[in-house]
Symmetry: C2
Subunit: 450 residues, 2 copies
Amino acid sequence: MSRISWDGYDAGVFRSRRSRLGRALGDLVALIPAGMPRPRNYPANVHPFRAESHYLYLFGVPIAGAMGVVDGERAVLFVPPPEADAALWYGAIPSGGEIAERAQVEVRPMDQLGQSISGRAVACVAVHDPVTDEAVRAAIGRRVDRDRLSPEDERLADAMVALRLIHDEAAIASIRRAAEATTMAHRAGRLATRPGRTEVEVRAAMETEIVARGMTVAYPSIVTVHGEVLHNEARLEVIGDDDLLLADVGAESADGWASDVTRTWPASGVLSKTQHAIYEVVLDAQRTAIAMVRPGVRYRDIHLAASRRIAEGLVALGLLRGDVGEIVADGVHALFFPHGVGHLLGLDVHDMEDLGDRAGYAPGRTRSEQFGLRYLRLDRDLAPGMAVTIEPGIYFVPAILDSPELAAVAGDRLVRSELARFADVRGIRIEDDVLCTTGEPEVITAAIPK
Amino acid sequence: MSRISWDGYDAGVFRSRRSRLGRALGDLVALIPAGMPRPRNYPANVHPFRAESHYLYLFGVPIAGAMGVVDGERAVLFVPPPEADAALWYGAIPSGGEIAERAQVEVRPMDQLGQSISGRAVACVAVHDPVTDEAVRAAIGRRVDRDRLSPEDERLADAMVALRLIHDEAAIASIRRAAEATTMAHRAGRLATRPGRTEVEVRAAMETEIVARGMTVAYPSIVTVHGEVLHNEARLEVIGDDDLLLADVGAESADGWASDVTRTWPASGVLSKTQHAIYEVVLDAQRTAIAMVRPGVRYRDIHLAASRRIAEGLVALGLLRGDVGEIVADGVHALFFPHGVGHLLGLDVHDMEDLGDRAGYAPGRTRSEQFGLRYLRLDRDLAPGMAVTIEPGIYFVPAILDSPELAAVAGDRLVRSELARFADVRGIRIEDDVLCTTGEPEVITAAIPK
């Protein structure tokens, strides 16, 4: 157990969220596990503890092994007994009474959980660690399987989605704090980049800004001269004179909220002519998409609008040819822009992805099977308080461009003879975090140069 | 799946280790899982993958979900099918043929594992992730439970301990590389420390040296002005003019080998008189202990010798009184030095702690029940090639000094009236990584100032 920091903890925020959940669920009791630290190489050497997002949303106090119960207007936090010698190794552990007072929630020992919910209809969110799984099974007499939710679990999942889709003021403030650290990281990364340095040196310069603010990265950083490898992790590769560096690095605030930002900059400080041409297409697509982040707009339409701008740009540069409408309808642009234009952002960098497409896709909407569109993680109508990323990109991915299946779709609309001319581009992505408001979209990460 | 780096990969090292294991096991087949990345907040957002240590020791190629089989002189690496679109997201994935050639091992698809070991006596090491657990169960028809090993599993565990206790040249070279990065981290930490900065700022300055070398921390860093909280993680606490900063930070080499170093330095650059007095006692105990790291010496005797030096120092300073031999025999010194003087070091920072005391305690030796001595993780006779930490410390831990039970043991040998005089000390630990050789002990981390 780590010490608990009460800095900035506002019990009213969590009470209000629990109360809204309780009202939504009526007689159904929600069991919300905090989860356990995950072992790294052996059980006692754990990754830094990060409580489960649903739990953080409702209780905010990261206590490993705790279980929150929300039952109408009543909430109880069940806490495990302290480890032997905990005070010796970890210093003074807050008592149940202190937690109760600070968090304004009833606190009870874990061994009272089973009896307190016995005979009630209980819903739970799935977790992914065997210790918590077993504790949940012991408490409610059944396992919670992410892939086969009970009707009760589905009601809870839907209620959590409804709550977490629309961020309250506290959530937005936390995302802003994460964005501030991310801003400093990206500025430091650009300053640290020069030919001859390695990718990991730039990554270190970026992450140190996040660590020094008491935060952590929200996801494994991507800092690479091979932007065309979409999930590349930073390595020892040396940055060359003519390389672009793609940096996808975001901080997570101390209370667990994510930011997610990508910038692509030239090692030399100056884009080549071809790099500049592609960069401008991506930036134009991003601006078009950001301007559409308004209430009532369907997110898939933003993706398609960005796709259209990319298709137009690629036609203008001679890499594609043909009718832009048909190119987008057939997904030919996805040979260069294979992923979605963005996703929900919140406590998770892909917010609520633990619930599958239940969060990202509105009821009745499902994923396309088309290459490109099928990777779109979000297809909802936007509403004020929703935070999304906007992150178009253009990549020259050998595995895609060499695919016979995709070549067949493209036909002669892909101008292969032009590809070599753009060999110094590899991959460019520009990503910001955008808040949907009642008026203009707010780019939370606007202070990061691009 | 991340890309595999073959930099520095020496197939002969792993072949030799497998061969020695195979010979030790005779007809028994060893199944060694690589393990899976651990989810952080949701299944797709994982902590950086760190393969299981036994697997890394024998195969060295970090492939998530792979299973190594050692069967006498024969070894097979069973690899999972690539994820859909893996080449798109992760770039070119090495083929089975490439892995086979580089690693000089037979590579086969995972779906052939069950059939290949069917009818054989199979031993396995316990892992701690549900996906791997289930894959092992599917392959061998039983679960491997860390707390109830089968006789076969026990034979495998004993054979792994015998191998991994004595480091080969490749292992020692990897520990040295980790120690080099750790050296740079500690130097940077000392330079970054000044009153007014926060603990996390110093931690960031240290970890960035490790990240920039393509490495990671071997365990969560402790960088704190509250050295008396033994497992304190760095926080936002501001470093005061008169504070000591305790930094327990170690790198893990790219191939998974740990270093583990603690230094304690004054924020002002100058130790106060009381800090200096305690520091010298700890340093003297450490020197005494390091000098004893020689073949045939029982590690518990090193612990007791360090304890005796600490007791003598505390008596000289007036914090304890009475007969030093009796103080150590009764564990009174453990009020100030409550933990063990060190532990095994290898692929795990507490090497092979996944096997419980099977690794740390020689057959027939068990943990003491005495406060202090019961935390000693190692009680073996040292041999050339064993790497251990030597890390005495003196702490003023309120939870210990206020314990009625421990006060009863100490009686009037604890001079409580003197405690207040040392209020600016809190906690001092000095830790190095030491290799037992046939001659003088080698302090692998000797380049770090103390």
